[in-house]
């Protein structure tokens, strides 16, 4: 019983992390370290919830319409935010760390202001139509794990389906090959005729879209409300997942589950009624993050290979 609950909660908590991390894998493979994921998730969370709230009021439409529009709005919000990042960091060649941090800080303030203008600063957070969980036929009847694995909302399944898609893209397509080369030696593919600025921008926009959807998951599936700062470090956790997952989609999936477990245990322990201050549990995912990242940077622990793209974080100047 407890195992089942933990498993289900882990998958639920891992989904937004996985979505954001898959986008980040593509972005970092192309050489751009998008440290603004946290901000893009927040924008996604707010826009997703708002869009769902306003579209669901319309009569005579299916109940799933609102959340779907919301999810799309969430992705677009992340994409637009990433567009600002792309312009500053790729086109104008600014420092990626500073711009990413600025975007996160901007989004923190911006979402709070907009939320208060739209829904007021007092009273309970607005609840919106959200993605309902449903049981997959047959599979969910498997004893022990059936309920835990196959009784989720549609986004969970879609995000898992994306893992092999991203893997296939990176390692079995021509554009994927270019993305990988772009993060290692952008000058080389530039002399072959590739447009590094365009390629990196596309990758970053994808990362922004995915981060936005990850944020949308928080306000449209996890809990159907928006609260300012609700991402609570999940964007940075996704960044850690990419590093721990060695820039590889399959390994990133594993890393996302591990960190998902951290967030899930936090919630479960809080609900368990143990006589411990709940702040200890709140700390759990972040402490896990510290331990895992420190450990995996040691050679002996890092048995599963992979290294950061050589030109990661370095702006590319085509005329230099």
């Amino acid at each position: 019983m407890l195992l089942e609950e933990t498993l289900a909660a882990t998958i639920n908590a891992a989904t937004p992390l996985l979505l954001a991390a898959l986008g980040e894998v593509i972005s970092q493979r192309s050489g751009v370290i998008n440290i603004g994921i946290e901000g893009m998730m927040l924008m996604g969370a707010l826009c997703g919830m708002t869009a769902s709230f306003y579209t669901s009021g319309i009569p005579l439409i299916a109940p799933w319409f609102g959340p779907c529009v919301g999810m799309l709005a969430a992705g677009l919000a992340g994409l637009v935010t990433a567009g600002i990042f792309a312009f500053l960091a790729i086109k104008l060649r600014g420092d990626q760390i500073i711009i990413g941090t600025a975007i996160t800080l901007f989004a923190l303030g911006f979402t709070q202001v907009v939320y208060q203008r739209l829904f007021g600063s007092t009273g309970s957070p607005k609840s919106v139509p959200y993605f309902q969980e449903f049981e997959l036929p047959i599979l969910s009847k498997i004893p022990l794990i059936g309920q835990a694995l196959f009784s989720h909302n549609i986004i969970v399944y879609l995000s898992m389906a994306l893992v092999p898609c991203v893997y296939f893209f990176l390692f079995h397509t021509q554009p994927g090959l270019r993305v990988r080369a772009c993060g290692e030696h952008p000058k080389a593919i530039s002399t072959f005729g590739s447009n590094v600025v365009k390629l990196r921008s596309m990758c970053l926009l994808f990362a922004g879209f995915m981060a936005g959807i990850g944020g949308g998951y928080l306000s449209l599936a996890d809990v159907p409300i928006f609260t300012p700062g609700m991402t609570a470090g999940r964007g940075f956790t996704a960044l850690a997942i990419v590093i721990f997952g060695k820039w590889h989609p399959i390994k990133v999936f594993g890393a996302a589950l591990l960190f998902g477990l951290g967030f899930a245990l936090d919630a479960l322990f809080q609900a368990s009624g143990w006589e411990i201050q709940y702040q200890w549990f709140l700390m759990l995912p972040y402490v896990l993050c510290l331990i895992v990242l420190t450990a995996s940077s040691y050679k002996k622990v890092n048995f599963y290979g992979g290294q950061a793209p050589l030109s990661l974080g370095k702006p590319y100047n085509p005329s230099a």
């Binding site: 079995h172 990988r180 593919i189 072959f192 005729g193 590739s194 793209p309 050589l310």
Partner: protein
Amino acid sequence: METEYILELQNVTKTFGQLVAVDDISFQLHTGEIHAILGENGAGKSTLMNLIYGLYQPTHGQIFISGQLKHLQSPRDAIANGLGMVHQHFMLVDNLTVAENIALYLSHFSTDKKNSQLIQSEVDHPLKFNEKESKISSNFVKWRFKMDEAIQLTETLSQKFDMTVDPHPRVGSLSVGLKQRVEILKALAVDARILILDEPTAVLSPQEVKNFFQILYTLQEDNRTVIFISHKMKEVLEISDRITVLRLGKKVYTGKTGDLSAQELVREMLGEELSDIHKKKSKVIDEPVLRISDLSVKGSQEEVAVNNVSMETYRGEIVGVAGVDGNGQKEFAESIMGLQPITAGTVQILGKHTTSTESIRRNGVAYVPEDRRTTGIIGTFSIADNLMLNISHFERVARHGIIAQNVKYTTAENMIKTYDIRPPNPNLSVSALSGGNQQKVVIARELSTDPELLVAVNPTRGLDISAAQFVHQALLQQRDNEKSVLLISTELEEVLQLSDRLFVMSRGNLIEATDYRDSIEAIGLLMMGERIPNEL
């Protein structure tokens, strides 16, 4: 108009602001020749090649390929017109495999007949042995990337051109010689008819150079044209059919190889007679300056980089250490300087055991490091600041740790004058200087302390002939002053020319080779870590 030239430049000029980098050069390339371009740094070789390769566009003049006027806007244009370039800094992605690198390159260029200029007017595409192969190569412009096809293509190409290249390993794990082959294969994959090779032998051992020349002959047999840029007179004379010499942006000579002697070619390059290095006979004094016994050092990957090495250097001699890059020279030099921890053995300087870099330097050891840009100088600092970076200079210009500006400038100005650093402006940041003048800053700083021992690693790398000669004179001067010099260099000629005793470093082992100094072949074998057969 029919023409026999595969490439022709007519009155090509390229200016950057006030600077005329390439000045009214006309130049023809015969199909199937190996054409060497000689010239000092700054003579315009690179600019000329970049013009041909489409990286720059000429200010005046025209470029014809196979008799047709071309306006090359980018390397992509040039490649589509049958050019290929092997850069000095390889355009390879280290973290991709050989096959992936070739596929990546090929994917940028369609080999499909309809929309490509590649195959037009050309005799025979190398990928058209049969239907199947040609289908494979055109698949590379499609969306899907198939690893097994990339591997098959690499194997086909390397067989056709007689270069053994394994498609599977990561490029980063290959030797420099193999990386170079991958670069050439890449160009051949899109059927380059003209290959520009920029200083291709700078990084190769004598044996690798031999193999490399073999590849060039294979290309020539296939009626491909090669432009070969080099500093090394001997190699140019050996491999090329014709030679063009550039000086200060102008073409000063073109002719058949063999028409001019090496001496005469140097005169064309420099515009003046180069005084031969006058090397007096050395007076070695029987007093060891550096004594190394049973030294072992580990490299960055925990491998044995220096293996049980013993040697001495005496006053009044230059001891040379030859070897191919990456055989432990860096670790060897750095352990002498106290920059790398020693696993076993001892290093003594004038009979004293020293451990820290500071005490080593205080005992009179100066150091010209391998890479001047990362360890020799601080690019953003001024010349004056760079000149006082070492301890003894700093102590001379500083009182209680505060730098006396006037002393700093007079010291700097004196050193700039003595070592002829140009431009002679102590406030100029060092990164604005040419490579030769940067190295002069390093040499000035290190030698003006009048050291007992000078450890110099690749002191002339990337320098042109006159700057290299300046460095050589400085080393000889040091020897003639009855000091000791340890010269570690990958330039075999330099080591042979300067050193009184000669060692070869190979896979961390140090072998005395003074007796073999007249046999390049024997030294080449030692460099590859092989034994010398009896007949040599």
